[in-house]
Symmetry: C2
Subunit: 342 residues, 2 copies
């Protein structure tokens, strides 16, 4: 008897044998899908994140198209700064802009801990569980360091001068903010687990912008504190550009680690002491010819070894990603069998 | 008797003992300097790159301010696409824009190999050698893969979708373009050596945007081919974000390897089989308080071990870099003595 999708994902994240490698994709509900763009023609990104019905609808969209083994709740990492009193806007082509960037201890003291739109994610998970009980859904949150970067910089950045200066100028204040964020993030993840999330992922998109030494000093302990609040579901930690500190990742204490598309998956696995991994096809490869997509998808599966591996991209799907490329990749994953599997 | 600056740099790049670690900085002539901004108020960036007198003037500027041990010729990596018939413009705030991006074999066939403004770099080096014979000057060029990325994408990019698609859709055509670029780049570097460059650096800014497998397939062989044209001066290869493929870097066959600010320098050195390294203080650290700058500079020097190490940043100086930060760092380097040095 085949395991259920819930069992398959749980086994992969526990490093146990599976009949086949489960797959989900970062940003699998997104602009590359015409049905998503149709919803977004009516409501803004933030409105979508704030409406559990609509968020549930777009969470389901990719499942109706592709052979996916899990969903991820549609939400945004910046609901946390917002719940702390820092309003967020999205400007076309420029990404998020956060009002009143935190630049010093007074900025931290001005934060007010509230709920804001945080409960929408758990509510979306509840609706999804009612609509698609057979499909596991992941909850998620931004990692403390990544949230600090946005809150201090006030927007995305190439160099993160304000954010890094804040860390270097007053490490104690930075740790205070990271602790606060870790607790809010951890409780937010736990609320998603209690709503029925089968697993949670902590996204540390910008940790890799720091020297490895500072990642170990600031990012990893804060991520560990956030995950320490989570009980009852496996926890995945994903840091982009983590090659300089991959061997230190286990300090986070997660059950599995996301690997970006630049690292060799087999090497990352070795550096992690064979802990379960998730990844790691470069999303831009989905713009390649079909044969290349199939060959490179197989190479990722071989590198993952078929055990303790959840297939994913190395980063989120792009608005330009061709749908037929996603399909070719996921059909390849679905057809592949781990060594020794029936 | 102290060695000359020429001897000190040559010894460091050869892995031999030195009295102190020599230092130069990527983008040491640049917008963070008021005297550079003064020149740029009169002429555009491209005009500056095309005028050997002015280029020599700004090449010298940082030497008059800081205890630096080498200069790097003021020039731009995009003189190579321009010499191949692809005009380049710089738009305020958006970086370079290249006309008629190369997207297929017809685009490659349309390239015409000329000299364009390439000779200005060697001419600038000759003038510098006449003006400051005691200071070694580095020549440089963009690495083939990085130039291909700009030529195909037509501009800088976060995701490099066009450039990567080009590599994946027609690897043979990509190799043909990389070979052409390697030969043009190699001859350009050799012309700079013949003009008196004490060393050359090949900048592979975007290699790290590729999966490690593709770096080994495309970027490193092309860089090796470019450097194979260079005789008579040590060659430094600098790839940003190289942690996923650091152990493969020696395939390039350079004398020394630049290390970005994210990697631990000592770890990188070990992965490189103890080849000479250059780097690697995160340039954003120069925005930190003075004590932090001094401590982190010393940590880089300790990690470098005082032998086979040229001090540098992990990436270029930023327009926002405080001059007093640069001064504090360079004074720290100048005062530090390698273990066992007199």
């Amino acid at each position: 008897m085949s395991p259920t999708a819930h069992e398959r994902l749980a086994r992969a994240l526990a490093g146990e044998a599976v009949d086949r490698v489960p797959a989900w994709l970062m940003r699998q509900a997104g602009r590359y899908l015409p049905e998503y763009r149709e919803v977004r023609a009516r409501v803004s990104f933030l409105e979508l994140c704030r409406d559990a019905d609509l968020a549930c609808e777009v969470t389901i969209q990719p499942l109706d198209r592709f052979p996916l083994d899990a969903a991820i709740v549609f939400s945004d990492i910046l609901t946390v700064p917002e719940a702390l009193g820092q309003p967020v806007e999205f400007t076309a082509g420029h990404g998020p802009v956060l009002a009143d960037p935190v630049r010093d201890r007074a900025g931290i003291a001005a934060l007010r801990r509230g709920q804001g739109h945080l409960p929408v994610a758990a509510e979306t998970i509840r609706r999804f569980r009612a609509a698609r009980p057979e499909v596991p859904i992941l909850g998620f949150a931004g990692a403390p360091l990544t949230l600090l970067f946005y809150m201090v910089e006030g927007s995305g950045s190439r160099d993160w001068v304000h954010a890094k200066r804040f860390l270097y100028a007053d490490p104690e204040a930075a740790r205070q903010l990271l602790d606060l964020l870790a607790d809010v993030v951890g409780e937010h993840l736990q609320a998603q687990v209690e709503a029925g999330a089968a697993a949670v992922q902590l996204f540390d998109t910008w940790a890799g912008a720091l020297p490895a030494e500072d990642v170990r000093r600031f990012a990893l302990p804060a991520a560990a504190r956030a995950l320490s609040h989570v009980r009852g579901a496996p926890r995945i930690y994903f840091a982009k550009d983590a090659a300089p500190f991959v061997a230190s990742l286990p300090e986070v204490g997660a059950e599995a680690y996301g690997v970006d598309g630049r690292m060799d998956l087999a090497e990352a696995r070795r550096a992690l002491g064979d802990l379960p991994v998730q990844g790691n096809l470069d999303p831009v490869l989905l713009h390649a010819p079909r044969d290349t997509i199939v060959a490179r998808t197989r190479a990722v599966l071989e590198a993952g070894g078929g055990r303790g591996h959840v297939f994913n991209l190395g980063h989120g799907l792009l608005p330009t990603t061709p749908i037929e490329g996603v399909q070719a990749m996921l059909e390849t994953v679905r057809a592949w069998r781990p060594p020794g599997a029936a």
